[in-house]
Assembly symmetry: C3
Homo-oligomer: 141 residues x 3
């Protein structure tokens, strides 16, 4: 029988960082009791994003943050849209380069991720933020 | 009851620009009468793309266009593939950096988007183009 | 009747390259006998990725490879994470800029792709690799 499950989670962030959502998402998948299906994740913001990345060496996360910071520097002279802070326009750019939505497969009650893959919220703003991520599964019990 | 709905829309473009598709997509979702489901969007081209971005300040769109133009400049000296125009290879690059497909969730007859999120076609070519976007919902009535 | 089909394919790679998966994926879709549905693709690695790109001129692929190589150079001086080789951190960055998952629509037994679109695995590592891609369809027979 095909069913759907939804959940909205709130993540409190505190500066530019990658925050693992893998455990929370796997818990939601388990609680759904869906054996096989599609999991769709949506971050409801345009200055934070979702990525799948290496879950082992924390230096990878530092290098990713550095890379995106060099690519879209926090320098108001570079942008027209500057009234919301030096980090806002770079945040929009970084969001457009990564993902607002991620769609994963569930098989045998498990999210299909490789051994080294984790699901992360990528916060691009400097100040504390309250981020909403919408979790949705469509699948078979 | 699970059902599917499809629609192909055509967007006429006129130069490098972000064009909001949000209204057209929401109209399609409403007409589908699907309460909960998954919405998949596909742009059937490799020199224009789809992004979810800020829908409020038009300067954000100008900054995004500038950013991508600096990142992949329209300069034939930089590329081997140059016979289709100085804007063609940069268009392929910009497409690869953004999205060909977007997958969103529908709950309570509504596309799950944040307050400041809009769905845009991102045109990367300079001349007039006819762009096809395929809309598809799988969900429950 | 809604059903699901799964397949895991293994791709042997040999250096930085785009490898077309279109034929293998279309064969899987055909064998599923699903008329209409959603196809979700997941690469189970963080140093190779998936992209939809031009399938006609091979120079486009060379230019894409050059672009990403300039953007995230294979130079250990640029990164903290350097013990796994000069190509590893750039591979993670390139993966984050492209896609780990792609979601496509199937209508009339056919993957909805434009005339010039192909589905590619984008290998970012220099040495031989064994890459797993998970194919999943949910749809109606």
């Amino acid at each position: 029988m095909f069913i759907q499950r939804f959940e909205e989670i709130t993540i409190l962030t505190n500066g530019v960082k990658l925050i693992s959502l893998t455990d929370q998402i796997e818990k939601f998948v388990k609680s759904s009791e869906i054996e096989n299906g599609i999991l769709n994740l949506s971050i409801l913001h345009t200055s934070a994003s979702l990525i799948i990345q290496e879950n082992a060496d924390p230096d990878v996360q530092k290098d990713l943050i550095n890379f995106y910071d060099k690519l879209a520097p926090m320098n108001n002279d570079l942008y027209i849209h500057s009234t919301e802070g030096k980090d806002d326009m770079p945040a929009h750019i970084k969001s457009s380069l990564t993902n607002t939505n991620l769609t994963l497969s569930i098989k045998g009650y498990k999210v299909q991720l490789g051994t080294w893959q984790g699901i992360f919220l990528f916060e691009h703003r400097l100040e504390r933020q309250k981020r909403k991520v919408f979790l949705h599964i469509i699948g078979e019990k």
